[in-house]
Each structure stands twice: as C-alpha cells, then as structure tokens.
Amino acid sequence: MSILVYAEHDNSVLKADTLKTVAAAQKIGGDITILVVGHNCQTVAEKAAKVNGITKVVVADSAAYEHQLAENVSLLVSELAADYSVVMATALTTGKNFMPRVAALLDVAQISDIIAVESADTFVRPIYAGNAIATVQSLDAKKVITVRSTGFNPVACDGSAGITSLDNVINAGISSHVSDELTVSERPDLGVASVVISGGRGMQNGDNFKLFDGIADKLGAAIGASRAAVDAGFVPNDMQVGQTGKIVAPDLYIAVGISGAIQHLAGMKDSKVIVAINKDPEAPIFQVADYGIVADLFEALPELENAL
C-alpha cells in the first residue's frame, strides 16, 4: 500500500492537522508520501520532511499553486494518484474544496471526515451532525479520504525524509484568485488550542467578546462562536464552531451564552471537559456540560477572569 498525504499549509507554516492525517495514514499502513503544493513553500517542505513515519516529501512549487485553487490542484493530485492506492487530506476548507474533485477525476467515491480506521478499506465517520456514527466500507480500488483531525493524535516530528521537487505545472486556466480577507489574531488556532472559550447570541454584540480577552490570555485559549453570533456579525465566520464550521476537541471548552443546538454540539462535544455559562437553567447545553453555572454572563465573566 502506498499513501499520498496532502499537506495543509499557507506556504509558510505546516498545519499541525497534517500530523494527525499522517497518523490516520499510519493506521491504514504503508509507505507514506507527503505532498506539498504551493508557491515559495520550501520551509513547509522542510518541516514536512521531519514528520515521523513517512518515506518522502514531494513538492510542487509554482505560482499556479500559490492559492491552492481546486481546479489546478485537483488535476495535479489526480495525476500523481496513479502511483498511490490511497490519497488523504485533512477535512479543513482546502481539503474539502479540492478532494471531491480529485475523487471524481479518478472515478471513485470519497469517504469524508473519517474519525477512525477499522481496516484498509473500512472507516468510521459521523453523520447527521454526529448523532449517528457510520462504519463505511469502500469498494473502490483507489481510496480518496478526508480526515477529521479530532479523531487522531499527531505523530512526532523528529524524522528526516528526503525531498523531491516536481516540475509539472498545471493551470486549468478557468479560475483565479482575487483577494483574501484573513482574520488576524494573536491567539492560538481553534483547531490546536487546549482551551477554547466560545460565545453565542447571549453575548449581544461583538464588543462584548472583549470580555473573553483577559480569560483567554490567562488560559492560552482560542476564541470561538456559535453560528448565531457569526450570523449577527459579532465575530468573523472562521470562528464558527459546529457541524458546518470548525470541529474542536480541546481539554476544556467553555460555552458562554450558547443554548446548545445539535449543530453546535456537533463541533465540540468530544471536548474533554465542557463548561457552560448560561442564564437559562433549561438550556440544552447543560445536558452535555461537566460543569454548568446558571448565571448572567456579564457578571460571571469578570468574576471568572479575577478568579483565574
């Protein structure tokens, strides 16, 4: 078995999620190659070469790949896939964007968002917002899989694999990048932080999210939100935790002014410890919280900041 793992990166930093995708690949077993597609992404390739348990790193570095446009990347990956029996990527927005395109070009199904590997052709994945867990067998000879990071522990990074460069540049010429409007934050990524504090509609406005700052500083926490808080414009879209947003599983998740709809729970209920702060004792979030406090968040948050 030979496995191609697509590296998740922004041309300068290899995302920690890739280390979890490699862990999932190891569960399938076989020679693992990490593919780095981007532009001026040599530092990513060097970091990828240190990932334990891999055979080699392959880099495709070209202006055509700078923004990892699905039209271009999928043609490259589906061509490379000829030499591999499994192609894997992390189920983040880049992988979700181009991987089904790869699968269709290869005429195979995709298994999305796996959280466990049962055998080389059988995988476990949540369906219905995590209210059911499906075990799925793939009948395709070649497998295209996206991996949900929260299901796997990252592999270590003290190896030294070789790096090969590819020079095939594929530009489908049907799409181009216009601009990015990225959220700048000093805080850790939602996906990697060991503590996450999220606010919902109960926060009332974006300014009130500042009440989280002192607490997040003290706990090294990332800040998340419910869909209602994002829809209302309190905070940017990339902070949404849930079925159709980010999936997190930190050691500690603090839900503040969030009712606990199934779509929100889908993104955080695998957290180790859940704390809920809500003024409504009937809020469903209390049914999954290890520690609940029935309180007005505008009183509870300053108190919490002081008590830490």
Binding site: H67, A70, E71, T93, T94, N97, R101, A103, A104, A109, Q110, I111, S112, T122, I127, Y128, N131, A132, I133, A134, T135, Q137, S138, L139, A172, I174, S175, S176, H177, V178, S179, E181, L182, V195, L219, R227, V230, D231, P236, N237, D238, Q243, T244, D251, Q263, K269, K272, V273, I274, V275, Q287, V288, D290, Y291, G292, I293, V294, E303, L304, A307
Partner: protein
C-alpha cells in the same frame, strides 16, 4: 442566463435522529423532512439573481423517490420556474448523484449551478465539487457572496482563515455557505401557484450511467453519550473544580 439548483430532501434540521436498534441505519420513519438548509439558501440565491434580472430561468432538480417532489414544490413556491425529479429508490453515493447532474447540465446548459455545500444527513460535502470535476467547470465552494460580472463570476468563500475571493469563468459551479443569504418563506399564493408549475419526472435508469454503489454502509451506531455533569453555585467553585477535580487548568 439559466440557473440550475440541485436540492435534497433531508431530515428537518431541528430533529435529533435516533439509530435503529438493529444498527442498520438511522430511523427515518415518521420523521419530519425538509429541503436541506444549504439547498434552500441555493434556491434563494438563484431566485434573487432572477429578480435582479441576471438570471432568466431557475430550474430545480432533485434525485430521489417520489417524496422529493414535495421539496421540489416548495422550491417552486419560493420562486423557481420549473422542476425536474430524477426518480430512484437507491441511496446513491455523491459521485453517482454528480454523474446524473452532469447529464442534466449537458441537456440544459445552465450558466450557473448552485448547490448546497453539504447535506445535513450524510454530511458529505462532495457533490458540487464532483460535478465541477465531471463537467470541467470552475467551482466556488462555501460561498458567502456571488457576483456575476459579464463572462465571469466573483465568489467570496468562507475559508478557515477568514474569507477568500476567487474569479471563475462562466459557466461555473457554486456551493452555498450559511451567510450567503437568508431564505424567504413561501407565501400562500405562491404555494398555490407552484402547484401549476411544470415538474418533469425522469428515471435514473434511463441515463445509461452505471450507478453501482461504491461504498457499503456496514453499520450505524449511536455516538458516545455525554452524561450531564453538575451545576456549580459560584465561579469560585467552578475554578476550584477545574483545578482540582478535572485538572484542566493550573
């Protein structure tokens, strides 16, 4: 320009499904069904394009058994012009859905196909991208803004780091995210009018596509349930528990 909108009949998003006791699947008997919420957003966007004079016709399509006609009628009541049902009793993989949609794209030649980004039942997030690959068209997934400009369409996408805008040649494939628009409700007169709009039924078997399943659902189990914990009386008690009992902060 023509806009094609594929919609899926799924469990209503408010309903919490139960797994069948034989672990064969979830139990959908007597469960409220609806248009997949992301497809509703797709219909709304297409109708707005028509209202703005950009689109000339909005065609909705659903692949499924006879019941999905109910969702097609709802989409017609929301403003779509005509509907196509591709009849099948099979539960098709996203790849096979995309292959059937490809045939309709070839027949109808829409300039835009707007799909939902994800079905809330299978949580696949695949069909739009697969259809884009099969038709060789550009794709704008997870869209929060769609702007048609001449021969191109600009799509603002919700990505992990924030927002990204791409420019695509038309025809193109778009998948919707939550912030694209807020769907309207169907008014009673429009629901009545929708009953007279055309709904064409085709059989999946007639397309000459090999629809063999590529995956087997071996079993479906309930998730690990979390036990409700305790209600603490004060913030001090909470912090004490987090330090000494849960040991998640120091």
């Amino acid at each position: 320009m023509k806009v094609l909108v594929p919609i899926k009949r799924v469990i209503d998003y408010n309903v919490k499904v139960r797994v069948k006791s034989d672990n064969s699947n979830v139990d959908l008997a007597n469960v409220k069904m609806a248009i997949n919420p992301f497809c509703e957003i797709a219909v709304e966007e297409a109708v707005r394009l028509k209202e703005a004079g950009t689109a000339t016709e909005v065609i909705v399509i659903s692949i499924g058994d006879k019941n999905c006609q109910e969702q097609l009628r709802t989409a017609l009541a929301l403003g779509a012009d005509r509907a196509i049902q591709i009849e099948t009793d099979q539960n098709l993989d996203a790849l096979n859905i995309a292959k059937l949609l490809q045939k309709i794209v070839e027949e109808e030649q829409p300039q835009l196909v707007i799909l939902g980004k994800q079905s809330i039942d299978s949580d696949n997030n695949q069909t739009g991208q697969m259809l884009a690959a099969l038709t060789g068209l550009a794709q704008g997934t997870f869209a929060s803004e769609v702007k048609v400009e001449g021969e191109k369409v600009n799509i603002t996408r919700e990505v992990d780091g924030g927002l990204q805008t791409v420019s695509l040649n038309l025809p193109a494939i778009v998948t919707t995210d939550l912030r694209l628009n807020e769907p309207r409700y169907a008014s009673l007169p429009n629901i009545m009018k929708a009953k007279r709009k055309p709904l064409e039924v085709k059989s999946a078997a007639d397309f000459g596509i090999d629809l063999t399943a590529r995956t087997i659902l071996l079993k479906v189990t309930p998730p690990r349930e979390r036990e409700a914990g305790i209600i603490v009386e004060s913030i001090d008690e909470l912090v004490e528990k987090l330090k000494n009992e849960a040991k998640v902060i120091s």
